[in-house]
Structure formats: structure tokens, C-alpha cells
């Protein structure tokens, strides 16, 4: 047996299925996390504007969005609970061996979640029940705990990618320092900032895409314009910043996880003045059919066109991640991220230079695409870092194969989970279609008056 576990090691034929099951649960949960972090800020901004200016449109928007917010949060609570179940159900040897090192982060995240849940209840059910000021104030903890909760989870992920705060003596984990492991870890900061910005890009473009559809269908009411502008502007200011933060993240990976960097590019041989290939396919130690940009990898990773970058062949074969998955995910994220940043710059340019919103329908068609593109880029980004971490669950310490459960029936569980999530997705789609035609009332006594699409 390789590695260290507190429990007897097992032979699991369905390791890949277990990983896919975890990835599926994660992919369902993570866009909801984005809404949990960014959406409260946007809702609070609307309410604050309404209180400041007396704008009815902003107030209506805040009310409607808060109903969407609580529905997304409710699904986020359960999909998040599933992830905590899977920590034990799929990876008991990981949790059993290292729970004492990383678990603290999740415990604190639990409290964050708690405060968030409490104040979401007060905020959403407090419309017209609390005074306007107190109602606005009751929303602020939601925005704060959305950040602290994800900070804790990312602290754990940073630790998995860059483990510290414990020693291994005779195959046992000793000298555990959980606070040091999680919070003195320099690997988490770029991940956290990258994710926080991503939440505004995802929530912003996803919301903006809905209203861009309404606009393209000819609804140019002031309600739709305001509802489009606020999330679109939030995403537009975050997208260019994300490019810089992404560069920082890549340089940190280059320094700490050279294997991952080599996999991102598909760099087979150690190369001086290494290029970047756009597109193409990695096999036999090189990228085929890619468009090479000479020296770009060296410039990006080390700020030196002649820097030497370690290739995949310089690492033992049993520590290499699946190169093409990582590479494709990375290129998807970067490509979509740059495209969204370009769209954002166009928008900000028109806004500042001309003092108005863009008029071309092509701009709004691009915004409609940016909604799903942001979600795809988000998931691709997590695939990059998490598949790029393979074959390790705790980088360089414990292999994923040593963490997996020995339980039989993983394919059955996987199939059930796929069906359940597919059913939920279909139900959500169905109800959103119904809602688009028949929006819910804004106040208990009120019949819907104006056409608004959510």
C-alpha cells in the first residue's frame, strides 16, 4: 500500500467514478456559491439606492431579486450539505487521516453558513416588517458571511494544494497545527481573490444575460434597463481585474506546483524560452496542431523570455496529472476569461466615453452568451486546479487512490446522483419558464403589474 491512512487501505475499482461524482456535486454547487457571495451585494446595492433616492424601480428589483436569492441559497444549502456528506462517503481515508488538520476550516465555515442562513431568513421575510434601515442592515451580514464562508473553504483547498501544519512520523500524522495549516498558508490568497472576483463575473453576467434577452425581445422598460445595468457593470469591472489576478495565480502555480504548470501548457521537455500553444492536443510529449506563441510561457511564468521551464518528462510518471483534461480546462478558462474581459472593456469604454449604454444588438447578444460562458469558465477553472492536483488529494502527501472509500456500488450512487441532479435541473428550468410568463407578486396583496423577466 502506498501513502498513509489511519484506516485499512482499500482497493477501489471505481476511483474515476468516485472522482466524477465529487466533481459533479461540486460543479452543481459552485455556481450557487457565486450567487451566495455576489448576489447579496447587488441586492443590497439596489435597496440602498432605493432608500437613498426613493427609486421605485430599484426597490422592486431588490424585492424580486431577494426572492430569487433565497431560492438559490436554499439549493446551495442542500448541495453544500451533499458535499460534506461526500467528504466521508467517498473519501473517508482523507477525512479520517487529515480531518484534524483541515477540518477546522469547515467548522468555521459552518458557522458562517449559519449566520448567513439566519440573516437570509430575516432579510427575505422582513420586507415591510422591519423598518427600512433595519431591513437594509439585516442584509449586511449575508454579504459578509458569504465571503468568510468561501474564505474558509478555499483555505482548505489551499492546504490540499500546499499542505503544511503537520508532520508524518511512522505513517501517522503528528504535530498537528491546524491554525498554521489553514491560515498561514500562502497558497490560498490568489485562489480566494480569484474566486471572489469570479463570483461577481458569474452572478453579474448570468443575471445580465437574463435581462439582455428581455431587451433583445423588445422590452426596453426602465425596469429592464436598471436590472441589466447593475449586474452587467459589476461583472464588467471585475472581468479585467480577473485577468491580472489570474496571472498572479499562474505565477504562484509555476513556483509551487511546476508539474501543474507543465500540464497547463502540455510542455513535454524541459525548455528554455518555452512557448504557449493555443489549442491542439497533447500526446507523446508534445502538443499537436496547436498554434505556438514563442517564449510566451517563459515570459508569463518567470517574466523572462529565456527562462527555463521544467517539462513533464522531468517528473516521475506516477505524479503526472491527466494532461489533456487540465490543458483543455485551462485554455477554456483563459479563453473565455479574456473574451469576457474584452466585452467588459467595450462596455466600460462606451459607458465612460459616450456616457450611455451600448446600443448595438450585437453587444447584448454577446452579453447573453457571457452568462453561460462565465459559468463554464468558473467550472473549467476549478477543473484546472483540482484535476491539475491529481494524482494527489493532499499534494505530495496522500494519493487520491488512497483516500477513496472501499464501498461497493459507487456506479449505482453515481447514476442516482446524476438522475437526481438532472431532474432538479429540469424542474428549475420548467419553473423559470413559468415564472417568465407569470412573475410572482412583489407584495403579498399585489397583483403583478409590470412585465419583468427573471
Amino acid at each position: 500500500m502506498g501513502g498513509i491512512t489511519a484506516l485499512a487501505a482499500v482497493d477501489q475499482h471505481y476511483l474515476d467514478q468516485a472522482r466524477q461524482m465529487q466533481a459533479l456535486s461540486f460543479a452543481v454547487h459552485i455556481p450557487l456559491v457565486c450567487f451566495g457571495m455576489a448576489f447579496p451585494v447587488l441586492v443590497l446595492f439596489c435597496e440602498w439606492t432605493a432608500l437613498r433616492t426613493g427609486s421605485e424601480v430599484h426597490l422592486t428589483l431588490a424585492r424580486r431579486w431577494s426572492r430569487v436569492l433565497v431560492a438559490l441559497f436554499a439549493v446551495g444549502v442542500v448541495t453544500g450539505t451533499i458535499l460534506s456528506f461526500e467528504m466521508g462517503l467517498l473519501w473517508p481515508h482523507f477525512t479520517g487521516t487529515f480531518g484534524s488538520v483541515f477540518g477546522l476550516g469547515f467548522a468555521i465555515e459552518g458557522f458562517s453558513f449559519f449566520v448567513e442562513a439566519i440573516f437570509i431568513g430575516i432579510y427575505v421575510y422582513g420586507w415591510d416588517r422591519l423598518s427600512p434601515r433595519w431591513h437594509l442592515a439585516s442584509g449586511i451580514p449575508i454579504a459578509i458571511t458569504g465571503v468568510t464562508g468561501s474564505f474558509m473553504v478555499i483555505a482548505v483547498n489551499g492546504w490540499m494544494n500546499h499542505p503544511q501544519g503537520f508532520r508524518i512520523v511512522d505513517g501517522r500524522v503528528t504535530d498537528v497545527r491546524p491554525v498554521h495549516a489553514l491560515f498561514a498558508n500562502t497558497f490560498m490568497w490568489h485562489e480566494f481573490v480569484h474566486m471572489y472576483l469570479a463570483s461577481f463575473i458569474v452572478a453579474g453576467f448570468a443575471l445580465a444575460a437574463c435581462y439582455a434577452v428581455a431587451l433583445l425581445r423588445g422590452n426596453t422598460s426602465r425596469y429592464v434597463q436598471v436590472a441589466l445595468t447593475i449586474p452587467l457593470t459589476a461583472a464588467a469591472v471585475a472581468a479585467p481585474v480577473q485577468v491580472l489576478v489570474g496571472d498572479w495565480a499562474a505565477r504562484t502555480v509555476a513556483e509551487r506546483q511546476p508539474v501543474k504548470l507543465a500540464a497547463l501548457e502540455g510542455l513535454g521537455q524541459t525548455t528554455t524560452g518555452a512557448p504557449v500553444h493555443v489549442g491542439g492536443w497533447y500526446s507523446d510529449g508534445e502538443v499537436h496542431f496547436g498554434l505556438p506563441i514563442p517564449r510566451l510561457l517563459s515570459i508569463l511564468a518567470a517574466h523572462d523570455p529565456n527562462a527555463t521551464i521544467r517539462g513533464l518528462s522531468s517528473f516521475p510518471a506516477d505524479v503526472l496529472p491527466p494532461v489533456n483534461v487540465v490543458r483543455l480546462a485551462f485554455q477554456t478558462m483563459v479563453g473565455l476569461g479574456l473574451a469576457m474581459a474584452l466585452l467588459a472593456v467595450c462596455y466600460l469604454w462606451v459607458r465612460f466615453r459616450r456616457g450611455r449604454a451600448p446600443r448595438s444588438p450585437w453587444f447584448y447578444r454577446a452579453v447573453v452568451l457571457a452568462g453561460p460562458a462565465a459559468v463554464v469558465a468558473l467550472i473549467a477553472g476549478w477543473v484546472t486546479t483540482e484535476v491539475g492536483r491529481q494524482p494527489w488529494v493532499v499534494y505530495g502527501v496522500m494519493r487520491t487512490a488512497d483516500a477513496v472509500t472501499g464501498a461497493s456500488g459507487i456506479p449505482v450512487g453515481y447514476g442516482v446522483l446524476v438522475l437526481v441532479y438532472a431532474g432538479c435541473a429540469a424542474a428549475v428550468w420548467w419553473i423559470l419558464r413559468r415564472l417568465a410568463g407569470k412573475p410572482f407578486p412583489d407584495r403579498p396583496s399585489e397583483v403583478p403589474e409590470e412585465v419583468g423577466t427573471t
Binding site: L7, R67, L89, G103, I118, I122, R129, V416
Partner: protein, 400 residues
């Protein structure tokens, strides 16, 4: 065993009790959702759990995270052996949460009966699966190193008993709570309907609990011994007395105190299980052997205490607002109160944002050393909210 090694387990137990009482009542409402076609009653079910249900369910996350941090091997062993019921409970939670969220986006009960059906069925199914997990642990079917039977560990008399008990107790708590809420908002029809349900389910819950002792005697003698001697027996007696008191209060239509008595009776049963199982967490595994290193335990205790200082007043505020009826009725509209601040010119703000971005970009990409990199990151991050405020058009007069 030191007190520090025991303390996080007491937190887990407290969390489990709160989950059983609060989320149990929450899940229990689903059974009543299934029991009636009456629009008004079904509507009461959703309204009554609305503001609190997310908070109720976070207790489970609390239990899981503290358990895997402070007693990682126990968590792993439970998950390895009881993988099937835990997975089924997870599926139940997904279905219920999604159904509830969909209901929130629909126009009330009767709009989508399918949603209500999924909500109700998963509300019954989930506590059964979780109860079966507890039954498996309580009857000593989870070996500490993993490797217990994947089926008999939860398809056994004790597990089925605890599963049924979890469903019935939850339904009872829910009925008491729904009746009390209906009284508070002055819905006499619903109050009478839920009071009848509370009396029936209360009698049933008591019968299952007492009859269950026979099952436990045959299937899990160690647990039976724990429940019929010493502190375990005391918990059982307290639970029986509180349960009778709660039923009496429901009968006398004193529903508000009844909900506390019923909750306390359920809490006493869970505590009784924990006491009966002492000193082992799992068969042959003591608390001292299962506990994480001291540094982790200290960190967990500090985190729980600090978190509790924030969470409990917040929870008090939430339940105070709910039980005081503050979230039931709209208050008269008030004019907006926050005066407009002095507006900074958008053009100036935009230039400041651009300057932050450019300077930050330079430092982020080319800044030597981590300190300048950090300054650069802070600057580019500051550019985002500044740019947001600068780019948004002013709220025009006509919309005021």
C-alpha cells in the same frame, strides 16, 4: 480521557439534539403536507418553516464538521459502514431542498402539486434514513476500523425502530409547532386541525418509543442496559414525563409552552442514547482514542465558542422575530429615511478607478517581492468598486 477530549463530543451532541428538535420539526411538516388536500393547511406548512428552515438545517453541517475535525476516525468509520443510508439521506435532502426552493418561486400550494408531493415524500424519507444511521451506531454495528456490513448495519430492528421514531417524533413536533403558529396568526381552523394531528402523533410517538424498548432489549442488549440503568434511565424517565406534560398542554390548548416541552422530551431521548452508549463512541473505541490531537481540539473549542457568541444572539433574534409574530404581518409603509449623500462627480471617480487599476496592474505583474504584489492586488481590487460606482448611470429624476 480529559475534559478537552470530551468537550467537542458534547458540542456534537448538542448540535445533534438541536438538529433533531429544530430540523426534525421542520422535516416533520412534510408528513402533514402529505396528509391533507386542504389549500389553507398546506399553505400554513410552507409559511411556518419559511424564515427558519435554512438555519435549522445548518445544524447538520455543524455536527458533521465538528465530528470530522475532532474525531476524524469516527466520522470515517461511520461513513464507510453506513454509506448507503447516508447517501439516501443526502438524496432526500437534495430533493426536499429543491422542492422547497421551487415552491418559493411558484405561486403557492396548488400551483404545482408535484412539487408538494416531492417535498412531502422526501421529508418523510430523509429522517428515516438518518434515524437508521443512528440506530446502526447505537446498536454497535459500526466497527471502528470500517468494514461493517453495508446492509445489515442499517436494515436491522434497532435502525428501523429509530428511523420510524425519527419520522413520528418529527411529525409530532411539527404538528405542535404548526398548531401554535396557527393560533398566533389567528387561524382557528388550522389550529384545530393541527392540534388533532399533534394529539394523534404524540400518542403514536410515545407508543413507538415505549414499544421500541422491547425491540432494543432483543436486538441491542448493551444499549438496553444503558437505557435502563443510571443516568440513561434518568433521561428516559425525564423524556417520558416531559412527553406526557407536552401532550397534556396540547390537550389544554396551551400550545406555546407545549412546543418547548415536546422539544425537551425529544432532546432527552437523544441525550439518553448518548449516555447509554458511554464510554465507547464506537464498539471498543473510547473517546480518548478517537479524539484529535490537543492543538486541534483547542482550535475547535475556540472556534465553536467564538462562533456561538455570534450565532446564538443571531438565532435569538431570528426566533424572537418569528415567535413574536414580527415576520407575520406587514407594518405600515414608511418613507425612505436615508438622506442622499454628497455626490462625487462620476468622471472624477472613474479616473481614480482607472489610476488604481493601472498602478495596481504594474505592481501586480512587475512588482518585486510579495509586499508590492499585495499592494498591487489591493489597488486593482479597489478599482473594481470605484469603477462600478463611476460607471453606473445616476438615478434620473423621473423614476423617483
Amino acid at each position: 480521557m480529559t475534559f478537552l477530549q470530551l468537550l467537542p463530543l458534547l458540542f456534537v451532541l448538542a448540535g445533534l439534539i438541536l438538529y433533531t428538535v429544530l430540523a426534525g420539526a421542520d422535516l416533520g411538516t412534510g408528513a402533514w403536507q402529505l396528509s391533507t388536500r386542504d389549500h389553507g393547511l398546506r399553505s400554513r406548512v410552507y409559511d411556518s418553516i419559511g424564515p427558519v428552515w435554512e438555519a435549522n438545517h445548518v445544524w447538520l453541517i455543524f455536527v458533521l464538521t465538528v465530528l470530522w475535525t475532532a474525531y476524524p476516525s469516527v466520522f470515517a468509520a461511520v461513513c464507510i459502514t453506513l454509506v448507503v443510508p447516508l447517501f439516501l439521506a443526502a438524496v432526500g435532502l437534495i430533493l426536499r431542498g429543491t422542492a422547497y426552493a421551487l415552491h418559493g418561486a411558484s405561486n403557492g400550494p396548488d400551483d404545482h402539486r408535484e412539487i408538494d408531493a416531492v417535498f412531502g415524500l422526501s421529508s418523510v424519507f430523509t429522517p428515516f434514513a438518518l434515524g437508521a444511521v443512528v440506530g446502526g451506531i447505537a446498536s454497535g454495528r459500526v466497527p471502528p476500523g470500517g468494514g461493517g456490513d453495508q446492509w445489515t448495519s442499517w436494515l436491522n430492528p434497532t435502525s428501523i425502530l429509530v428511523g420510524v421514531l425519527a419520522v413520528v417524533l418529527g411529525a409530532y413536533l411539527a404538528a405542535v409547532q404548526l398548531a401554535a403558529d396557527a393560533v398566533r396568526i389567528g387561524d382557528d381552523v388550522a389550529a384545530a386541525a393541527f392540534r388533532r394531528r399533534a394529539l394523534a402523533s404524540g400518542v403514536l410517538a410515545g407508543a413507538v418509543a415505549v414499544g421500541g424498548l422491547v425491540v432494543v432489549h432483543a436486538d441491542a442488549p448493551r444499549l438496553f442496559h444503558g437505557l435502563t440503568h443510571g443516568a440513561g434511565l434518568a433521561c428516559v424517565i425525564v423524556s417520558v414525563l416531559l412527553g406526557l406534560l407536552a401532550l397534556g398542554l396540547v390537550w389544554r390548548r396551551r400550545l406555546d409552552p407545549a412546543r418547548f416541552a415536546a422539544g425537551a422530551a425529544v432532546a432527552a431521548i437523544v441525550a439518553g442514547w448518548a449516555v447509554a452508549q458511554r464510554p465507547d463512541v464506537l464498539p471498543g473505541l473510547t473517546v480518548a482514542e478517537a479524539a484529535a490531537p490537543t492543538s486541534t481540539l483547542v482550535a475547535v473549542v475556540v472556534a465553536v465558542v467564538a462562533g456561538g457568541i455570534i450565532v446564538f444572539p443571531s438565532l435569538g433574534l431570528l426566533f424572537g422575530l418569528v415567535l413574536g409574530g414580527r415576520l407575520d404581518r406587514p407594518r405600515p409603509a414608511e418613507p425612505a429615511a436615508i438622506p442622499a449623500g454628497r455626490r462625487v462627480r462620476a468622471g472624477l471617480l472613474g479616473r481614480v478607478a482607472l489610476a488604481c487599476f493601472v498602478a495596481g496592474a504594474g505592481l501586480t505583474v512587475f512588482g518585486p517581492g510579495p509586499a508590492l504584489l499585495a499592494v498591487g492586488i489591493v489597488l486593482v481590487l479597489a478599482a473594481a468598486p470605484l469603477g462600478f460606482l463611476a460607471a453606473l448611470p445616476a438615478v434620473p429624476e423621473e423614476s423617483r
